[in-house]
């Protein structure tokens, strides 16, 4: 029995020492025991949408809101022209990341295009940052309005 008790103490010591190695200690405290995503803090919030927001962040809420605006405006088959991420950064938009058309579809069930998408000419609305660093949505009424936006967006590189 003494052997087993001694071995148990060795096991406990090994675990304590292991998690005191700086890297593992940091990993344990910032990842495994991260309070933001700990079980006590998350089990109260079981609503699907809130869990999506907690994972995908503010961008997810922006895209959902944007899609609902198009629906409320009764735009038939809205196809959103998304700006390049670099353009958003230049306009000092904080907290919103541009997603690929596929992820926009996953988030909202709505269609989106980038300036190099095959269906870009079908875009009938757009996500446009204003000069105050805020996101606005805009209906595209004709080819001239679309081309004007494309001329701006094409100056920026698209990043996946």
């Amino acid at each position: 029995m003494h052997f087993k008790i001694n071995m148990t103490l060795v096991a406990i010591l090994a675990i304590v020492l292991f998690f005191n190695i700086p890297f593992y200690n940091h990993w344990l405290n910032t990842n495994v025991l991260n309070p933001d995503i700990s079980i006590p803090n998350t089990y109260k919030v079981l609503d699907k949408e809130q869990r999506m927001v907690s994972r995908f962040g503010y961008s997810y809420s922006v895209y959902k809101e944007m899609h609902s605006v198009f629906q409320k405006a009764k735009i038939k088959d809205p196809i959103v022209l998304l700006p390049p991420d670099a353009y958003l950064k230049e306009k000092k938009v904080i907290g919103v990341l541009v997603v690929e058309p596929a992820i926009y579809y996953y988030f909202t069930s709505g269609k989106a295009v980038w300036y190099d998408s095959p269906d870009v000419l079908k875009a009938n609305c757009a996500m446009v940052p204003n000069n105050e660093g805020k996101i606005t949505v805009k209906k595209i009424n004709n080819r001239e309005e679309l081309n004007a936006l494309l001329d701006i967006y094409k100056k920026y590189k698209l990043d996946l």
Partner: protein, 482 residues
Amino acid sequence: MNFSGLIFLLLAQFFAGRGVIRLFGVHLKPIALACYSMIVGVFVVSLVPCVLQLLHIPLTANNLYYAISVSSLLLSVPLLLNIKKTKLLSVSFPKLYELPFLLVFLALAVISVWRCFYFPPTPRDVLTGTELIAEFAAREKTMINSVFKIDLRLNSSANNIFKSPFITSLQIIYKLLVHPFGQVWLSVLFLSFTVWFYTLLRQIVHPLLAGMLMLIYFAIPDLYAYTYVLLYDYANMVFFVGGYYFLTQFLAEKNRRLLLWASFLFGASVYIRSETLVMIAMVAPLLAIYLFRQQVKLLQIVIQTGLFVSFSLLFNFLLNFFISKFIPVRFDLGELISHDFFNFSLLLEKFTKIATDTIFSNKGRDVYAHFFSFFVFIFVADVIWPRKFSKDARFALLGIAVVYLGLVLLSFLIPSHTIFNSAKRGLFRLIPLIVLYIAHSGIVQKISGFLNRKETAASIPSLSGKVVTNSTKQNTVIDKKR
């Protein structure tokens, strides 16, 4: 969350997997049998939506429920025919000194399972590929759905929609029967594999050392993260490592059923990630050479090597068949393959870069912690003293070399297979093999033997009139063998 759906799936997977193992006729120890029943069950059940799709049957919850029930019952037939031979699971309780480790593992496992359940699938690779298809398949009742009408960036290097339907199918099943995010099947694989791997380590080394090795294994940040983050690599690792382990068992026991079983597990890993075929193609000649050196007849070498690659080829064919049927756009792999076959300096560069840029870099440390440094330390120590490499240690080292060289070759042949992003997760296959090597290494075996002798000596005074536990007996036998 639909708990009855989860229980139904767990039972269906268990019986389907158990039936498949019975079909192969391999004899596994009780815990290994239970764990592999679940692991193989997950794989078998993942084929069901593909069959329904081929038959143009809508992918509804009811249809999946009936189809999974029927397929599990059919696969259970060999089990039912041999019901008298079926033994109940007997489990020996862990020893006192294992409990601190087991409590830590339990806590880590609970956190992993919770995150897997709680958070939606996140990686871009699945959100623009299999998860996207699965989400809309669950809504539109078909895998060929509205997703293919949007811009999937097919003009770029992205090829995420052409990945294996393994995740797509499991996501459809779990979304419709269990939970809107699906994904908890990953926890089933994680728990089953981890339990099997720990029991395996306990057989190789003293349980105290097994606990320490498992702790180092558990605390690899990225490997732990991918137990709840949906991607292919963890599942691929589970089947690849299982296949490699049972291949070494075949080499030790010469039981052809084990060869077929290993082939099946390797085949499943190919179905999940087709590039695994490169590694299996590298193992096949090694197997043939090994058999030749064992003076096996040439015909037998051809047959056994053929059996070894059979399931990988079959599942690779099935994978390409499903992709051609379910993805209504075409994809030319030829565009991805480099044609600069004789650029040996590039090959050498890839060989060194996986080590320097991925494994032993600062980024690599964030991904694997000190795991690889620990491996190098044990290996160097082993070379210095006691300089004894058992057959099992050599097999593990060979597996490590195959995976590493396979990744070098993939990075060389496919430029989009980037060193850091693609090879990083591909190296997961190495990790359990490294742990197995460390367990079999001369130095760890010496320590294990010492602990076993001490434990046996400590238990001798208390033997009179008492029953020795099975595990103590087992450790003593192992120790004597050494």
